[in-house]
């Protein structure tokens, strides 16, 4: 084991122990570790942004690129400087065009992706679940697949109905949804509860795997020092 790995292992050992001390109470050492982690992550992100983005994609084309590259790079350079003016309150408004450009393009990309990449394909997938050809070619039993598809359909509809908050108002009476919507959304509530339970189990499972990995690293450090 080289010295760098050894130092890294020892530092990691103590940082892990200090982090576990949060079980007893929030303390100064735990906060110190948190600050170290946040500082390291921010510093590494800044270095990565410079060496992986700004230098090769902006500075190099401006310094040694062709005229066409130079012209193209002036646009992001100007927009970038305009965005940086937001740190000065008196001229912060100059950064609005850049911000608007970023928000507009970002929203268009995300919304377009969500509609074309998730919403429509998932609706199509739901419809295809009841396709006879699909049901007959399914690996399992035909009726098992049919029941499975029906459960998915019912779960989708009832869950969407749960988030339907349109209600009629009557004079002197509390606002309430229609009875049939209430009953359907009650079924949807069950599906949502099951989903949240599954998500919680997944989060717990991920946390347990990370915990085991950390405990294993502690054991390895101790064993490395104990063994000759």
């Amino acid at each position: 084991m080289n010295p760098a790995d050894l130092i890294g292992m020892i530092v990691g050992f103590f940082l892990t122990l200090i982090t576990f001390s949060y079980i007893f109470k929030d303390n100064v050492l735990f906060r110190l570790v948190m600050h170290i982690f946040i500082g390291l992550a921010a510093g590494y992100a800044a270095i990565m942004a410079w060496y992986n983005v700004i230098w090769p994609q902006l500075v190099v084309p401006l310094v040694s690129g062709t005229l066409q590259e130079y012209i193209w790079m002036v646009i992001p350079l100007v927009l970038g400087f305009l965005l940086m003016t937001r740190i000065i309150p008196s001229i912060a408004g100059w950064g609005k065009p850049t911000l608007a450009f970023l928000v507009g393009i970002g929203a268009a990309t995300v919304v377009g992706g969500a509609v074309l990449g998730t919403l429509l394909p998932q609706i199509r997938g739901l419809i295809n679940l009841f396709d006879q050809q699909y049901l007959e070619q399914s690996a399992g039993n035909y009726w098992n697949q049919m029941v499975n598809s029906t459960v998915i359909l019912v779960g989708t509809i009832t869950t969407l109905t749960y988030f339907q908050f349109q209600a009629k108002s009557r004079l002197g009476q509390p606002v309430k949804r229609a009875a049939w919507i209430e009953s359907i959304s009650w079924i949807g509530k069950i599906f949502i509860a099951i989903t949240l339970g599954v998500l919680f189990a997944g989060v717990y499972s991920a946390g347990m795997a990370a915990f085991v990995e950390r405990m294993n690293s502690l054991v390895e450090v101790v064993l490395a020092f104990l063994q000759p």
């Binding site: 590494y44 990309t109 004079l171 499972s205 405990m215 294993n216």
Partner: protein, 479 residues
């Protein structure tokens, strides 16, 4: 005494006034010279007694209003009529009839308050001003437009006519607004009784059990059964030719690297075994570092004989989130021109034919966040064409992404979810990677957690029943 109502302001004025006392608007129409002479003659014929003073007064008034040069012309004696020229005969009328006609004419000039009559006058005599200070004159521009005339609007009720349903909506809206703005005293709920003692006891229990399992082993859990998604993933990777470029996205934070390294490791090992050329990339800044660390761990496995420098390139960080991903999918060499070491990687024989993400033989995405996985599916998958997309996911992201795999047609072609799938992957190739090492301890921890949750639920149910019985009993109710 009769009154004339002013057509401009509507105020009543004495009959003998020519101008309104209130707004100085003309009450009576002006007469042209010809009309004046004609009326004078009519007056002479109708009432001889008023020929003297009245006629002189009227002429005097007219002279005052006319310019001086016109007054002089009018005061000169009339030129003698040339012989042969006959004056037009003025129709002789009876005195009473003339007076009646004059009164009717005057009455017709008295504009009443109804606009309708004035409109009729305007329409009947084109160019004749019917109202205002220039009333009676023809061929002049009106002093004021008709729209400025004051008239009373018909009275309308201001009571709102609404239905009962609309009233109900109004009440609902008012109640919502009043509830929002109103003061609602915060109902203090007792803080949940989380005893630090119990927390420490549970934590220590976990520590001891996990430590004991890691140090001494002893408890063995059965490996999970083969899942279709793992089998599909393995077959997909097995079907790609040897030595082809594969894009691997290491998109997970260091906090969950313990789990994610264990999940991604079997997939990477199979790719390395097939001598695939790995192009590593990430949409988070710490991702490239994670990728380097992971590949160094694979490199330590001697049996792969993995030559790091020849078999991968770390393209580094893709900025811009979903936008950056879309750009990278369309033209990778423009979005990431240089690799992590600052070299131009796209001249490498393995990558020189790559112009879009679809040119890779396979795309593998490892992430613990459902949002990141969705970004890859939504932005990159539509551009992949026939290139399969495989995902190595944390257990917490699995339930969200699984519908993309199970839909028809598939949006994700292969899945490896959580430690259990990683162990399955290992078993398929009879290997022992990190996931298999962790499996027993991990299963013991999950079992312990399940037992603790069940025990907690059982104890809570007992406490609830005890409190209910105590409240129901007479002694408890007295207390």
């Amino acid at each position: 005494m009769s009154e004339i109502r002013c057509s401009m302001c509507g105020e009543p004025n004495p009959d003998d006034l020519e101008f309104c006392q209130n707004c100085q608007a003309r009450l009576k129409p002006m007469q042209s010279t010809f009309e004046s002479e004609q009326s004078d003659e009519l007056l002479q014929q109708s009432s001889p007694e008023i020929q003297g003073n009245d006629q002189n007064d009227r002429r005097g008034e007219i002279n005052q209003e006319l310019p001086s040069w016109l007054s002089e012309v009018m005061s000169e004696p009339e030129s003698p009529v040339e012989p042969g020229f006959e004056m037009p005969e003025i129709e002789q009328q009876e005195p009473d009839a003339a007076r009646a006609e004059l009164l009717d004419w005057l009455e017709s000039q008295q504009l009443d308050e109804q606009v309708q009559e004035s409109e009729e006058v305007s329409q009947g005599d084109e160019g004749l001003i019917g109202i205002g200070p220039l009333a009676g004159l023809t061929g002049v521009l009106p002093a004021e437009p008709d729209i400025s005339h004051i008239q009373k609007l018909p009275s309308q009720s201001i009571k709102l006519q609404i239905t009962e349903k609309q009233l109900a909506h109004v009440e609902t809206l008012e109640s919502v607004i009043s509830e929002e703005g109103g003061y609602h005293p915060f109902e203090r709920k007792p803080a949940p009784e989380t005893s630090s003692v119990w927390r420490i006891i549970i934590a220590v229990t976990f520590f001891l059990v996990i430590l004991a399992s890691l140090l001494f082993g002893g408890v063995e859990f059965a490996y999970p059964e083969y899942s279709t998604e793992v089998l599909t993933t393995s077959q997909l990777i097995g079907s790609i030719p040897n030595g082809v470029p594969v894009l691997v996205a290491v998109d997970y934070e260091p906090a969950l690297s313990g789990e994610m390294d264990a999940i991604l490791m079997p997939v990477l090992e199979q790719l390395v075994f097939k001598s695939s050329y790995l192009a590593l990339v990430s949409t988070i800044p710490t991702g490239p570092l994670q990728a380097e660390r992971l590949l160094s761990a694979v490199h330590q496995e001697d049996y792969f004989q993995f030559k790091v420098a020849d078999q991968y390139t770390n393209l580094g960080y893709i900025p811009g989130g979903a936008m950056g991903l879309l750009g990278f999918a369309q033209s990778p060499n423009q979005i990431v021109p240089l690799d992590l070491t600052g070299n131009y990687p796209w001249q490498n024989p393995a990558l020189q034919d790559i112009s879009s993400v679809a040119d890779f033989a396979l795309v593998v995405v490892a992430t613990e966040k459902p949002d990141t996985a969705q970004n890859w599916i939504e932005q990159v998958k539509p551009l992949l064409g026939s290139t399969p997309l495989v995902m190595a996911l944390s257990a917490q992201a699995g339930p969200v992404i699984r519908p993309y795999y199970e839909s028809s047609p598939k949006q994700v072609d292969g899945l490896v979810i959580g430690l259990s799938d990683a162990v399955t992957y290992d078993n398929m190739y009879q290997r022992t990677s990190t996931a298999t090492v962790y499996w027993d301890t991990f299963s013991l921890g999950i079992l312990l957690a399940c037992l603790l949750i069940m025990a907690g639920a059982f104890i809570s149910a007992l406490v609830w029943l005890y409190k209910g019985m105590r409240a129901a009993s007479p002694k408890g109710s007295k207390a």
